[in-house]
C-alpha cells in the first residue's frame, strides 16, 4: 500500500494556497468596499456640482443673460462640466446654442478643450473636437485641417465637423479629403456631419468626378465614393448630375448609388432602362424611383417588376403601383391579376392592406 501513496504534499503548500485564496477574496472584498466608499464620497460632490451648474446652464440655454460673476470652476470640475455643457449644447439649436457657447468660453472651457485635443485616448479627443466646433475660433481651423491627413477613420469625421462648424469655407478641402478616403464609416459620417451637410454637400457637388467623351463615368471608384458620400449627407441631386452614372452597362454598385440619390423629377425612361438589371437591388431602387416619379408611363415597367423573383422588388413595385396617380386599388389588382402571377397578386393585396391601414 505504501508504494501507492502519493508523495505527501507539504503542509506549507496547502497552507500557502489557503492563505492566498483567502487573502485574494478579502482583498477583492476590500476593493469592493473601497469602490463603494469612493462612490459614497463622490455622490454629495456630484450633487453639489449638479446643483451649482445645471440651473446656470439650463437658464442660459433658455434665454437668461450670462451672470456677471460666474461660479468658480474648480479644477476637478472642468471635465465633468465640459461633458454636461456638451450634452446640453448638442440638444439645442439657434440662439440657445450661441448663448451656451458664450458661457463655455466665459468659463474657460476653450483652453481645456484645446488641451484635450492632445489626449492619447481617442474618445477624449472626440469630445474635445465636438466642443471645439462651438468654442473655437478661426485660429483653430488650420491645425484641424492639417490633422486630417494623419487622422484615423473616426477622428477624421470629428475633425471635419469641428473645422466646418468654425469655418464653412473649408468645405471644399474637407470634401476633397473625405473623397480620397475609402475607410469611412458612412453611418457615423451621416450622423456627425449632419450640421454641416449644407456647405459640404455643395462642395461635394462641385467636385463631380470626370466623365468620358460619351458623357458617361470615366472611372468607377471616384464616382462610387462621390455618390455614396452624397447619399450619407442626404443630398438631393437632379438627374442631369446623376445621368453619367445611370448609363446602362456600368458597375451595379454605381447604378445603385445613383438611383438611391434620385429624388423623383421626370426621367422615368432613364430609370426604367435598369428595370431588367441582373442585380435585384438595382431593380428595387428602380421600383422605388418610379413610384417617386409617379408617371403613368411607368405602369407597364412596374407591372413587370411586381412579378419579379425577388420579394423586395415585388414589394416596392406593388407600393409604387398603388401610389401612382389615377391608379385605383381595384384597377391595380385587376391589372396584376391579368399577369397570372399569384405571388404578385398576394404581394399587391398585402401592400394594399398596409396602405389602407386596415391592418
Amino acid at each position: 500500500m505504501a508504494d501507492l501513496r502519493m508523495p505527501d504534499v507539504p503542509l506549507s503548500w496547502a497552507l500557502a494556497l489557503a492563505w492566498t485564496t483567502l487573502g485574494l477574496v478579502l482583498l477583492m472584498v476590500l476593493a469592493l468596499w473601497l469602490l463603494r466608499l469612493w462612490r459614497l464620497w463622490q455622490a454629495p460632490r456630484q450633487a453639489r456640482f449638479a446643483a451649482r451648474w445645471q440651473p446656470l446652464l439650463l437658464g442660459v440655454a433658455a434665454g437668461d443673460d450670462l451672470p456677471e460673476a460666474l461660479p468658480v470652476l474648480a479644477a476637478h470640475e472642468r471635465w465633468p462640466l465640459l461633458l454636461l455643457w456638451l450634452q446640453l449644447l448638442l440638444t439645442v439649436e439657434g440662439r440657445s446654442r450661441v448663448r451656451l457657447a458664450a458661457l463655455g468660453r466665459a468659463l474657460g472651457l476653450t483652453s481645456l478643450v484645446r488641451k484635450r485635443l492632445e489626449s492619447r485616448h481617442p474618445p477624449e479627443r472626440w469630445v474635445a473636437l465636438l466642443a471645439l466646433g462651438a468654442l473655437g475660433d478661426g485660429q483653430d481651423v488650420p491645425p484641424l485641417m492639417a490633422r486630417l491627413a494623419t487622422a484615423g477613420p473616426q477622428t477624421v469625421l470629428y475633425l471635419v465637423r469641428a473645422a466646418l462648424m468654425l469655418d464653412p469655407a473649408q468645405a471644399p478641402a474637407a470634401a476633397r479629403h473625405l473623397l480620397a478616403r475609402s475607410d469611412l464609416d458612412l453611418a457615423r459620417l451621416s450622423l456627425l456631419l449632419r450640421p454641416c451637410a449644407g456647405p459640404l454637400g455643395q462642395a461635394l457637388r462641385a467636385l463631380q468626378p470626370p466623365v468620358n467623351s460619351a458623357k458617361a463615368v470615366a472611372e468607377v471608384q471616384p464616382w462610387l465614393c462621390w455618390l455614396r458620400l452624397a447619399h450619407a449627407l442626404r443630398q438631393q441631386w437632379p438627374l442631369s448630375v446623376l445621368q453619367p452614372a445611370l448609363q446602362p452597362g456600368l458597375d451595379p454598385e454605381l447604378t445603385l448609388a445613383a438611383l438611391r440619390l434620385y429624388q423623383g423629377e421626370a426621367g422615368d425612361a432613364v430609370v426604367s432602362a435598369h428595370a431588367g438589371h441582373s442585380d435585384w437591388r438595382v431593380r428595387v431602387q428602380v421600383a422605388r424611383a418610379l413610384g417617386t416619379i409617379g408617371s403613368p408611363q411607368a405602369v407597364p415597367v412596374l407591372l413587370g417588376l411586381v412579378t419579379d423573383t425577388q420579394w423586395w422588388v415585388r414589394y416596392r413595385a406593388a407600393q409604387a403601383l398603388l401610389r401612382l396617380p389615377g391608379q385605383t386599388p381595384e384597377l391595380v389588382l385587376s391589372r396584376i391579376a391579368a399577369t397570372g402571377d399569384r405571388y404578385a397578386r398576394s404581394m399587391a393585396e398585402a401592400v394594399l392592406a398596409e396602405q389602407q391601414g386596415s391592418v
Binding site: M6, V9, A14, S190, L191, A232, V359
Partner: protein, 465 residues
C-alpha cells in the same frame, strides 16, 4: 502509482481550468477598461443615423402567455431608427396568440410570405392596427429553431435579432448591439449581455428598478450569468473565438445565416450550433468575418426559480452543447481553424463538454483516495483549494468587475448578497450543476429527441404599465 497519477491529473485539470478563466478575466478587464473610456462619447445625445441598418426582431414564443406582452411592449419601445418586430407563435397550447391579438389589436394580414428556409406550415400572419411594425406569425409547432427560421422567412431587413419571449431589452440595446456592424463590414453576428430579471421591477415593458431576486436559485444564477458573460463571452470575443451567442439576444446578418442553411431544427442548442456552424463554414471558405460580444447592451430574462426547472434547463443546455460540438468536429484543429478551431473548440470539448465528468470524478476520486489513505489530508485540502477556492476567487472577481464597470447592483445589501452568492455558488451549486450536466451528457449519448424546454414562468417581475 496509478492513484498518484490520477490525483495529480485532477489537480492539473482544475489548475488549467481556472488558469483559462483567469486569462479570460484579464482579457475581459482590458476590454471593459477600453469601453469605460468610450462612455463619455457614447452618452452624448447624437441622434440615430439614418444609415443604421434596419433590423427585424424575431421573438419565438411557445406557451408564453404570462410574459409575451411585456416582451413585445419593451421591443416596441426600443430606441432605434427602422425595425420590425415579428413574434412567431409556435403552435402554443395556451393563450399566447389570443393575448397578443387582444393587447396589440392584431388582424389577419395577407402577407406575401416567402419560404426561403423550409418550416412547419404557417397558419396565418397578423399585423397590429396600433403598431404597424408588429407582425405575428402563427404556425404549427416545430420547435424554437423552426420558429426562428419562419421569422427569417417573414423578415424584411438584412439583419435580424433573436430575442426570447421572456426577455426585456433596454431601450438602447439594439442601437448598441448593432454598432460593430457599422464599424466592421465583415461582422456577421453580435451578442449582448443577458442578466436575470427575477426580482426586478418591470412596468409596461420597461425596467424600472434593478433588484436581486429573493429566491436562492435565481440569486445563484445572477452570479453565474455575470461570470459567464463578463468573463467568458467578452474574453473569447476579443480573439474572435466566441462559440456561443445566446438565443435570448443576438443579432445576425441574415444572408450569412441563410447561406449556412438557417437554424438547424433537430438540435436543442440551436443558438450555439448556428454560431459554431458559421465559424466552421466561413473558416473553411477562408472568408474574413467577425463575431463580437458587446457587454453594454443588456437583455433581462427570467431564470428558473425551482430546482426541477433549473435541472431540466441545464440538462438541455448540455445536450445542446454536445450536439453543437459533435456536428462540427471538422473545425477542431482544422488548417484554417484559427482561434475558434485551435483554442475555443478544444476548450469547449475539454472543459465544458467533458468538464462535468472530469469534475465529478475528481471530487469522488480524491475523496475516496483520502478516505482510503492514498493521499494525505494536505493533498486533499490542496485539491479542494484548487477546485473550490480558486473558483470562489474568480467569482468574487466577477462581482468586482461588475461593480467597477456597470454598477447594476449598487447598494451594500446587493453587494454583500452577490459576494455571498459567489462563495455559495462554489460550495454545492457548481457541483450540483456538474451533476445535471453529466445527466445531459448521458441523455445526449442515449440520443433522445429534443424539444422546447418547459419553463415554469412566474412573470411576477412584471407589472402593467
Amino acid at each position: 502509482m496509478t492513484a498518484l497519477v490520477i490525483t495529480w491529473l485532477m489537480v492539473g485539470y482544475f489548475v488549467a481550468l481556472h488558469g483559462i478563466y483567469l486569462l479570460l478575466t484579464l482579457l475581459a478587464a482590458r476590454t471593459l477598461l477600453r469601453l469605460q473610456r468610450y462612455r463619455p462619447i457614447e452618452q452624448l445625445p447624437l441622434a440615430h443615423s439614418q444609415l443604421m441598418p434596419p433590423i427585424s426582431v424575431l421573438v419565438p414564443a411557445y406557451n408564453e402567455e404570462t410574459t409575451i406582452t411585456a416582451t413585445v411592449e419593451s421591443l416596441l419601445q426600443l430606441g432605434y431608427g427602422e425595425f420590425e418586430v415579428i413574434v412567431i407563435n409556435d403552435g402554443s397550447r395556451d393563450q399566447t396568440l389570443q393575448v397578443l391579438i387582444e393587447r396589440f389589436g392584431l388582424l389577419p394580414y395577407p402577407a406575401a410570405y416567402r419560404v426561403q428556409i423550409p418550416t412547419q406550415a404557417v397558419r396565418g400572419i397578423y399585423r397590429s392596427v396600433r403598431y404597424p411594425a408588429l407582425r405575428v406569425i402563427d404556425k404549427d409547432n416545430g420547435g424554437k429553431a423552426d420558429s426562428l427560421n419562419a421569422g427569417i422567412n417573414a423578415s424584411r431587413y438584412p439583419l435580424f435579432c433573436g430575442v426570447d419571449a421572456d426577455s426585456i431589452l433596454e431601450r438602447d440595446s439594439l442601437q448598441k448591439v448593432v454598432q460593430p456592424f457599422l464599424r466592421v463590414p465583415e461582422m456577421v453576428a453580435t451578442g449582448g449581455t443577458i442578466r436575470a430579471a427575477n426580482g426586478c421591477d418591470v412596468r409596461g415593458g420597461a425596467l424600472h428598478r434593478v433588484e436581486l431576486p429573493r429566491n436562492p436559485w435565481a440569486l445563484l444564477q445572477v452570479m453565474e450569468y455575470l461570470r459567464a458573460f463578463l468573463f467568458g463571452r467578452l474574453g473569447w470575443s476579443s480573439v474572435n473565438a466566441m462559440l456561443i451567442i445566446s438565443g435570448a439576444f443576438g443579432v445576425f446578418r441574415k444572408q450569412t445565416v441563410m447561406d449556412v442553411g438557417g437554424y438547424r431544427t433537430h438540435t436543442i442548442g440551436e443558438d450555439m450550433e448556428l454560431v459554431v456552424r458559421i465559424h466552421h463554414h466561413l473558416r473553411a471558405q477562408g472568408k474574413p468575418y467577425r463575431i463580437e460580444f458587446v457587454p453594454d447592451p443588456v437583455c433581462w430574462t427570467e431564470v428558473p426559480e425551482d430546482r426541477q426547472t433549473l435541472r431540466n434547463q441545464r440538462i438541455r443546455w448540455q445536450r445542446g452543447l454536445s450536439e453543437s460540438l459533435n456536428a462540427h468536429w471538422g473545425l477542431l484543429f482544422s488548417r484554417r481553424g484559427g482561434w475558434p478551431g485551435w483554442v475555443a473548440f478544444p476548450y469547449m470539448v475539454l472543459f465544458e463538454w467533458l468538464g462535468p465528468l472530469v469534475e465529478l470524478l475528481g471530487y469522488l476520486w480524491t475523496t475516496w483516495a483520502w478516505w482510503a489513505g492514498f493521499i494525505s489530508g494536505q493533498a486533499f485540502s490542496l485539491f479542494l483549494l484548487v477546485a473550490v477556492g480558486l473558483g470562489i476567487v474568480l467569482s468574487v472577481a466577477g462581482v468586482l468587475l461588475e461593480q467597477w464597470s456597470f454598477r447594476m447592483y449598487p447598494t451594500v445589501r446587493q453587494m454583500l448578497l452577490l459576494v455571498l452568492a459567489a462563495v455559495v455558488e462554489n460550495l454545492g451549486y457548481r457541483q450540483l450543476n456538474a451533476w445535471w450536466r453529466l445527466v445531459g451528457l448521458y441523455r445526449w449519448a442515449r440520443q433522445k429527441e429534443g424539444s422546447w424546454g418547459t419553463m415554469k414562468r412566474k412573470g411576477n417581475w412584471q407589472a402593467p404599465g
